[in-house]
């Protein structure tokens, strides 16, 4: 089964995704890291949520694929608070195959209202198990 990223070209956009994190979700996130520090909202939580939505839209997680998260860049320009509504919009920056392995890079821009508050760049490596 072909996943959508296999045919997507650079410039293809994903989302927009509406993201909001409650205080309880933030605490669950910290717990899932094994942390007991629940005092603040890390910018990474929004990247995590956007990444999951990207994974679902691009179809890159399945038993026919070995998908590896190879790298992550995150930049934020404003603090993020619980309950804020943030919009994430992804764009495929590169998508190449070398020796039957796909290398893709997706950039996500995060905005609050009309203000950009951050970006993330996710590098993914995909190997198809059953061709």
């Amino acid at each position: 089964m072909k996943y959508s990223l296999a045919k997507d070209k650079p410039g293809k956009t994903y989302g927009p995704y509406q993201l909001s994190v409650t205080k309880k979700q933030s605490e669950s996130y910290y717990s899932s890291l094994g942390s007991k520090n629940f005092n603040s909202l890390p910018p990474l939580i929004y990247v995590t949520l956007a990444l999951t939505k990207l994974i679902n839209e691009t179809g890159i997680i399945s038993k026919d694929l070995e998908t590896i998260h190879a790298g992550q860049e995150v930049t934020w320009e404003k603090p993020m608070k619980s309950g804020e509504s943030i919009v994430a919009q992804g764009t495929l920056k590169s998508n190449n195959i070398r020796k039957d392995i796909r290398f893709a890079k997706i950039v996500v821009i995060y905005t609050k209202g009309s203000v950009q508050i951050g970006t993330s760049t996710t590098s993914i490596i995909i190997k198809e198990k059953n061709d």
């Binding site: 899932s32 890291l33 094994g34 890390p42 910018p43 990444l51 998908t67």
Partner: protein, 141 residues
């Protein structure tokens, strides 16, 4: 030079943590990332990794926690992380984060902001590096 409490060469607060399968399952539920390579023992056996591995973002979350512990409120306002995931972390392995302040300089654009550049990473008990990269913190003084 703007005065800050941060100095070149300072080590960041290291965090050591065992990445249990319970933690990986919990992270899968919170993030919604149910890639079978993280949670399905039989599937993971069939991959080149041979066993279940932690999400890269779980490990990076612990690196971010180190930055937060080290810089407290200063960490939240403006910053940047650039990392590569260089090796898998298997269920049950123990990882430790590490980081060092490389430079402390006033921003060339906004002098009231101090830019703090750090090398950051995460390694296993056997010394193999699982995350390596850099962080840039912008502190208002």
């Amino acid at each position: 030079m703007i005065e800050t409490i941060y100095k070149e060469g300072d080590k960041l607060v290291s965090i050591k943590r065992k990445i249990t399968q319970d933690l990986i399952n919990c992270y899968a539920n919170v993030s919604g990332d149910h890639n079978p390579i993280h949670i399905n023992k039989e599937y993971a056996k069939s991959t080149e990794f041979g066993a279940r591995i932690a999400h890269g973002m779980l490990n990076l979350g612990i690196v971010s926690e180190m930055l937060q512990e080290s810089f407290q409120e200063d960490w939240k306002f403006e910053g940047q992380i650039k990392t590569k995931f260089t090796a898998p972390v298997y269920s049950g392995e123990v990882i430790s984060t590490y980081g060092t302040i490389i430079s402390v300089q006033p921003s060339t654009l906004i002098p009231s902001i101090t830019e703090i550049q750090c090398s950051i990473g995460c390694k296993k008990e056997n010394g193999s590096i699982v995350i390596e990269g850099s962080a840039l913190l912008k502190v208002r003084t």
